[in-house]
């Protein structure tokens, strides 16, 4: 009988996927437009962070724009008001994201999924309104956070972040390291615990694990990476748009994650790539792009909930499993 521990689906994502992805991103700015590629990486990181919570822990947050936007504004503010370097600013973004996630976690992580989704949405909306009006003096209100001084890296060597290629490879570096970190988180006993929580929370609790703490940590990581992505977005744009805090941002990252496949590791990045590519091609021509997005969403949920990578995986794995079964059947010994 085949050893149970060889069952691939209970271990984490294979590192092949990670290296292939990193390789693809290494060369892609020479194939498609560099800004688009940069955006794909940034939102890809956002989606991976988001999916850490959704696809891997099974918790839906409808307000992840809060982390993204907070990260974006933190980075911009750190540079503009405190004269921080880009490295420090990104560190600040990540820290703020983790902090916000801790607060939200402390308040809401024990709640039923439904409540958590609503609370997260409400908190994000609160930040949006805060940035829009009462805190206008610091955030720039509707215009967003502007006038961020010339962006460049001083350490370890000088990099001009205003020109596309150096900017791209800087983002590549940060996102690449993050992807490896996220991969490592998922490919660990902790990652397996998250999977257990997603599959059957009650049983995991009954098995004696501190599920609340695990969910909390997952949320904190999720907030951290999403905020880091937000910080990168600010570096990429050179300013901090209010849109980053808007509910549509939360909805779009959700759509892209599901489009790619929320129960896979790299699915969200694929979803981001496909969506941003389509948006790049079509939103200029179509006035009713949001209508298309909404219909896409509805269609996905009804017809294709496993997403692109999810569907591919189940077809491919399905064929693999069948082939294995056939091979075993052929080589099995005759019963005595």
């Amino acid at each position: 009988m085949k050893s149970k521990t060889e069952n691939k689906s209970t271990t984490g994502p294979s590192n092949r996927v990670v290296w292939i992805t990193l390789l693809i991103f290494l060369v892609i700015p020479h194939i498609i437009s560099t800004p688009l590629a940069t955006e794909i990486m940034i939102f890809g990181l956002f989606a991976l962070g988001f999916n850490l919570l959704l696809g891997h822990t099974g918790i839906l947050s409808f307000g992840h724009a809060a982390y993204f936007g907070l990260g974006c504004y933190s980075c911009g503010m750190a540079i503009r008001y405190f004269g921080a370097s880009v490295w420090t600013a990104l560190l600040a973004s990540s820290a703020m994201g983790a902090l916000l996630a801790s607060i939200i976690g402390a308040l809401a992580i024990k709640k039923r999924g439904v409540y958590f989704a609503m609370i997260s949405m409400a908190v994000a909306q609160m930040f949006y309104f805060l940035a829009l009006s009462p805190l206008k003096k610091w955030t720039g209100g509707e215009d967003g956070l502007k006038f961020i001084p010339k962006l460049s890296l001083k350490y370890p060597f000088y990099v001009d972040l205003q020109s596309p290629f150096p900017l791209y490879y800087f983002v590549y570096f940060i996102v690449g390291v993050s992807i490896l970190l996220i991969w490592r988180i998922l490919n660990s006993p902790f990652g397996r615990l998250l999977q257990a929580i997603r599959e059957n929370e009650e049983r995991t609790i009954a098995s004696g694990y501190n599920v609340t703490m695990a969910k909390f940590v997952s949320l904190v990581f999720s907030g951290l990476f999403s905020a880091l992505a937000g910080g990168l977005f600010c570096v990429y744009l050179g300013y901090g748009p209010l849109q980053t805090l808007f509910w549509l941002t939360s909805g779009t990252i959700l759509l892209m994650t599901i489009l790619g496949g929320m129960h896979t590791f790299i699915g969200p990045v694929v979803g981001v790539a496909v969506f941003l590519y389509l948006q790049n091609k079509f939103s200029w021509v179509m006035e009713r792009w949001e209508l298309v997005v909404g219909i896409m969403f509805v269609g996905l949920v009804l017809v294709f909930p496993a997403g692109i990578v999810g569907t591919i995986k189940s077809k491919y794995l399905g064929r693999q499993a069948t082939a294995k079964q056939n091979a075993e059947a052929d080589s099995a010994e005759e019963p005595v």
């Binding site: 839906l60 409808f62 308040l107 809401a108 024990k110 709640k111 039923r112 999924g113 439904v114 409540y115 989704a117 609503m118 609370i119 949405m121 409400a122 908190v123 909306q125 609160m126 309104f129 805060l130 829009l132 009006s133 009462p134 509910w247 549509l248 909805g251 959700l254 759509l255 599901i258 006035e287 009713r288 792009w289 949001e290 209508l291 997005v293 909404g294 219909i295 896409m296 969403f297 509805v298 996905l300 949920v301 009804l302 909930p305």
Partner: protein, 292 residues
């Protein structure tokens, strides 16, 4: 600006009128959630549709009351169709899916309305006899706001009567508790669900129609209303009509007084309130015991 009694009472009244709209919304959301276990992320969108339906009918027929009533039925009908074709296929699957679907639905419909009606708000004229205010004991009572309060009271009484005294109401209450059992007893639960959804969004449509004389109807107001609705329901506890009512009342007063005292924060106030209440009583004021 001195805070005298008359000013405070006026604000309380405004708060009640505001709260009334939120109560209608929250009750609709609670009915849908209790019966179908679906969190209707498109609830505010139906509110928006109600406002537009009222605007269109009133523009066509000139009569406010026809507009109000038709709006409820139109939205109810749209809800009927939505549940039958979009939500029903998702039963039995991951409870995440109806959430996602209703969200996508709201994005799509909002943009569709933007395409049809543009982004300039449409406002409905106050019906004759409801313009102006009453003066009672030195307090200003705008007639229309009083109307809203009484209308909501009437609706609540109707709902109470419906759920407690009618057969269909009883079936719905039973289905909220245990759908499987109701089905085993021979009731077509699927149709009950559709009706429940239509009823829930009908309430939202009513709220939108009623508000159409006060706020201009804009496609984008749907999602904002949904989020505010969620705050009401988180405060009051999801699954309890009493909670929906209490939550609505609280939110109404909060918005009213914050608009008066610190108008810059009027948008944010309800979220602060939600956070404070969460800190103090983690499952909402009327939340179901043991089910956080």
């Amino acid at each position: 600006m001195e805070l005298n009694f008359s000013l405070i009472m006026t604000q309380v009244l405004f708060g009640l009128a505001l709260g009334a709209v939120y109560i209608l919304m929250a009750c609709g959301l609670t009915i849908i959630f209790g019966l179908l276990d679906v969190v209707n992320f498109a609830h505010g969108t139906f509110y928006m549709l109600g406002a537009f339906a009222a605007f269109v009918i009133i523009s066509l027929f000139g009569n406010f009351w026809i507009g109000l009533v038709s709006a409820v039925f139109i939205v109810g009908l749209i809800g009927w169709a939505t549940e039958s074709f979009l939500i029903k296929p998702l039963y039995g699957k991951d409870p995440l899916y109806p959430l996602l679907l209703t969200f996508g639905f709201s994005v799509a419909v909002t943009d569709l309305m933007r395409g049809i009606f543009g982004t300039i708000g449409k406002i409905v004229e106050l019906p004759k006899g409801f313009t102006g205010s009453l003066m009672m004991g030195g307090i200003f009572l705008p007639k229309y706001r009083v109307f809203i309060i009484f209308l909501t009271l009437a609706v609540l009484i109707f709902l109470w009567f419906f759920f407690k005294k009618t057969n269909l109401g009883m079936i719905i209450r039973a289905a909220t508790r245990d759908s499987l059992m109701v089905r085993a007893l021979g009731v077509n639960v699927s149709r009950i669900w559709t009706f429940g959804f239509a009823l829930g969004v009908g309430l939202a449509g009513l709220a939108g129609a009623v508000n159409s004389t006060i706020l201009p109807a804009l496609p984008d107001m749907g999602v904002e209303m949904t989020i505010e609705c969620f705050v009401v329901v988180v405060i009051g506890g999801l699954g309890s009509l009493g909670g929906a009512i209490l939550g609505g009342l609280i939110i109404g007063q909060v918005i009213s007084f914050v608009s008066l005292l610190a108008s810059d924060y009027s948008n944010v106030a309800i979220f602060f309130t939600m956070l404070v209440i969460l800190l103090v009583r983690t499952r909402g004021l009327f939340g179901e015991a043991g089910r956080l």
